[in-house]
Structures are given as C-alpha cells and as structure tokens.
Symmetry: D2
Subunit: 106 residues, 4 copies
Amino acid sequence: MTINTLQEDLRAFAAEREWQSFHTPENLAKSISIEAAELLECFQWGPDSREDDVRHELADVLTYCLMMANRLGLDAETIIREKLEITRVKYPIERSRGRSEKYDRL
Amino acid sequence: MTINTLQEDLRAFAAEREWQSFHTPENLAKSISIEAAELLECFQWGPDSREDDVRHELADVLTYCLMMANRLGLDAETIIREKLEITRVKYPIERSRGRSEKYDRL
Amino acid sequence: MTINTLQEDLRAFAAEREWQSFHTPENLAKSISIEAAELLECFQWGPDSREDDVRHELADVLTYCLMMANRLGLDAETIIREKLEITRVKYPIERSRGRSEKYDRL
Amino acid sequence: MTINTLQEDLRAFAAEREWQSFHTPENLAKSISIEAAELLECFQWGPDSREDDVRHELADVLTYCLMMANRLGLDAETIIREKLEITRVKYPIERSRGRSEKYDRL
C-alpha cells in the first residue's frame, strides 16, 4: 500500500475527531519533538530497550510526521526522496564511507 | 510506491556509506530527537515558518524514523497501523471530538 | 553569587534587547527543547564529545531555563529544591540504590 | 545560597543512590532532552498550561543540567556567564533590539 493511502487514513482519523484545529504546523512540530523524546526515553540509560515500547513510540513519531505532511499538503515519500538527493550530494560515498562526521567536517 | 520500497532505498543508501555501525537503535533515537528539534526550530518564535526549511527538516525526521524501522526489522506502515488501532480505542470519536485532552483526562 | 543575581542579569540582558515579547513561556519551552537537542547532538554517534561544544550547549539550556523561571516569576533554586524533595520520596535510598528503573517499576 | 551549594547537594543525592554509573555525560544529555520534552508537553496544544506541571518539569530540566555540570566538573554559573558574553557579542543591542532573528540573519 502506498504512503499516500496511509496519509489519507490518518487524515480521516483526525477529521472524525475534529482535531484539525489543534493540528497546526507549530503544534505538530511540538508533538513530533515530544514523541521523539518518548522514543529516546526507551534508551535513556543505555542501549537496551523494551521492543514493544520502541515500536509504539516510533509509530507515534511517524504518525505525527505524516499528519504534518498532510497539514502542509506534502507527500511524505516525495519529500523524503527530495531530501535524500540533497544528502547524496553532501555525503559522496568515497568521502563519507565509514565516517559519522558532519559533511562540513569530512 | 510502497513504504517498503522506500525503506529499502534508504537501507541501500546507508549501506553504500557503511553507516550501519553508527545506526544503532540508540543512536537513531538520538538522531530522531535532534532532527525533530531542528523542525521545531522552524517554529521557535511563533507559527510562521519558511516552507523549504520545514519540508527538509520534516524529511530528515522521517528518514531517520524509517532507518530505525529498518534497523529493527519493522515495516513502517504496519507499526503505524498497529498503533492507530490502539489510539482509536483510547480516543473514541464521541468522547474525543474537538478535544485535545489526553485520553486519561477525557 | 546566588542564582537570583544570575537570573536578574539574564533578565537585564533580554530587556536591553526588548526580547520579552518573544520570551513567552511557550516559546521558551520550545527553545529549551531546541537547545537540549543541540547538547544531545554532541553525543549523537557515541559517548565521545568535544568539551567546548558540550559546555556551550549546556550553558544555552541553562540560560533558557533561567529565562523561563524569570518569566514565570520563579526562583530556580526554590523549584529545584522543591522537586528534589518529591524525588527523594519517590526514590528511597534503600530501594533505588544502584538502579535506573523508574519509581513505578522499583 | 550559591549554585555551587546546590550542585553539591544534587551530587550527594545521586551519590547516596549510587547513580553515578548511570550519569554519564551521554545519558545526562539524553535525560535533559527527555525532560525538556516533558516541559514542552505542557504547551503541546497552545500557550495555556498548568502552573504546577510547568514548575516541576522546568525543575527536572534544571536538575539534570546541574548534574551534568557536576559530572563534567563545571560550575554552572561560570559557564552561563561565559556563554552570555559570547551571546552579547553576537547580538549587539542596537542590531538585535526587538528582533528574534538568528545572529547570522540580523
């Protein structure tokens, strides 16, 4: 199934609950940060984590991201691929292989 | 195109650069929080934002989320839909309509 | 020197620049998250970090926290000590010694 | 009372519970981001918030920041004042008055 169908289903979910007025871009940006921190909390004291918690928190971040894409009239796959091309140029394979430095330090 | 294909393309992107050793679940959780904050920064002082910045930062959060799904062997759509069903039960339409309270305060 | 004097100096710094209208509690909460993520970025790929970066980013988080305390008319030391007493009760020494679990799992 | 005394009291609090091994700089950086997001959650859907929640969450961020300063052997006031001088130069009063732009856009 396409991301587009998924975005559509999430839009319907929010619309049924009349949550569109809360889902401003600014509020969704806050929500994404909040959920990202709940995901991070799974790893607060080290690399070990509870699989179920991680899966649910990751899903929450993704859900709010898709809701934000909806709100901005963006197709998630398109913007991911657009950004991937930018990153591809910033991190050429030969210079970035096996290195975690930022592009401006490569 | 399916999310699965997109996850596969991102996996190849990281593999070409031999970034798998950096992409532990813990490091990806940190990365998602970091990128989420860059998205939030677009709205630091209010609701107005630069559209290009928002689109790129949102793409970054999504990208790291899909990389994390890859790392954990999860299909992004499956976990989003699984969590959506949980949320659907926590927030019944009649009780949550037009309200932003958390389910335990509804 | 007391925290109170420091809070006062930060208040003057913001007032000279007429930043009070930007420094709403909501905007400061966003700012604290944004700076916290910049601190986290020092450790994105592992425990090693550049000492200067860490020091400056930690200072940024603290600064916005004190500005928020200012905005809310709170004394930072008072609220830290108030919360410490709550945590002391939640985490009795004998039950929490050498353990990182949350109080509801101890 | 000085920040130094407060840092000392927090150090004792953690030491009594033998939490020093969890309190690595990396784990504390994660903890600061996590608590910052809990503070942000007070403002997730708008500027209104519950005062008690804000106060406690702000205290949590500050507490972890001071614990990190402890861990790194830093005096919180010193690093805040050091960074303030840097910010003072980046944001001269006459150019930054009443503006929220970043220094590189002023």
